[in-house]
């Protein structure tokens, strides 16, 4: 499993805008880079990221080959009720990773 870092407040007030930052370990190999032997390294990138808030999609992004390794994503959302945030990265070669964090809304 890839290492991932997720930064968000543990508690927030209802209706508050919170910032979420995610960082995940991934090579993001573009598919254009020649290797030492002249062959081209096959593409291996994360293609999609979503954040579900109590099973409802609140943020998603398509990632492209020009994005740097170990992609950092930062976004904000408006809190509604306490619950679970689920972060999923999917990509080439069957890459799929989900991390969850709980959020208490007061």
């Amino acid at each position: 499993m890839a290492r991932a870092l997720i930064n968000l407040p543990r508690t927030a007030r209802r209706g508050e805008v919170i910032e979420i930052r995610t960082l995940i370990q991934h090579v993001m190999e573009t598919g254009y880079r020649p290797r030492a032997d002249g062959s081209v390294a096959p593409r291996d990138i994360i293609t999609h990221f979503t954040c579900l808030y109590n099973n409802e999609e609140v943020f998603s992004v398509e990632l492209a080959p020009a994005i740097a390794a170990n992609p950092f994503l930062s976004f904000s959302l408006v809190t509604a009720e306490s619950g679970i945030l689920a972060f999923t990265w999917t990509g080439d070669n069957g890459f799929e990773q989900t991390e969850t964090r709980s959020l208490t809304v007061t």
Binding site: R3, L5, N7, R21, L23, Q25, V27, A68, N70
Partner: protein, 238 residues
Amino acid sequence: MRRLALALLLLGATAEARESSFALMSPETQAMQREDSANPGMLWVEEGRALWESAGCSGCHGDVAGMRGVAARYPAFDGAPIDLAGRIAQCQEARQHRIPFARDSGEALALAALIGLQSRGMPISPPDDPRLAPALARGEALYRERRGQLDLSCAQCHDANAGRHLAGSSIPEAHPTGYPLYRLEWQGMGSLQRRLRNCMTGVRSEPYAYGAPEYVAIELFLMRRAAGMALETPAVRP
């Protein structure tokens, strides 16, 4: 007399204002280093934390917080000059009887980053061990020696031309304050030795093999030159 001259020289060097390459970076790259949540080096630190348990380090050393200050006083002397990466490998080889993680492998960098982080913000404090003197002198000589097809010494760039530009990048003063660090150009984590290899191939000279005593000697000199500066591990560099 020579010893006095050397002491004065070192005093002169420390009294001069020195600057980490951090100061030369764009505000965006500085923010990336400053914010743990945006610093990709922290991914290696996290991996290091997992390895600290799974590779059995905690069994003898307990909480990694006990490693506070350790990274600030390497290279040290143990039969020969030894750097922090060498020390970790020594624990694996001599005390755990296993094959150590290869130098600059993800695992070795992860453990070094975790241990380095315990000393973040602390002043670099080279040990006052007279047995290190010959290697320190050798390190300084290597630093001043011209090398490669470009026939340039480290000092010609990092002392004589520090702060000036070379093909789009600023020439820093070459203080080893942030290793292992995340370099954007590498798209990954790397050790001081990897950085030194880059500078050696940059002047078209043959770099020494990973783990060579020459690197430890150069590191000894660079750490002495940077004594008192704050450790930044895991730093970010362009």
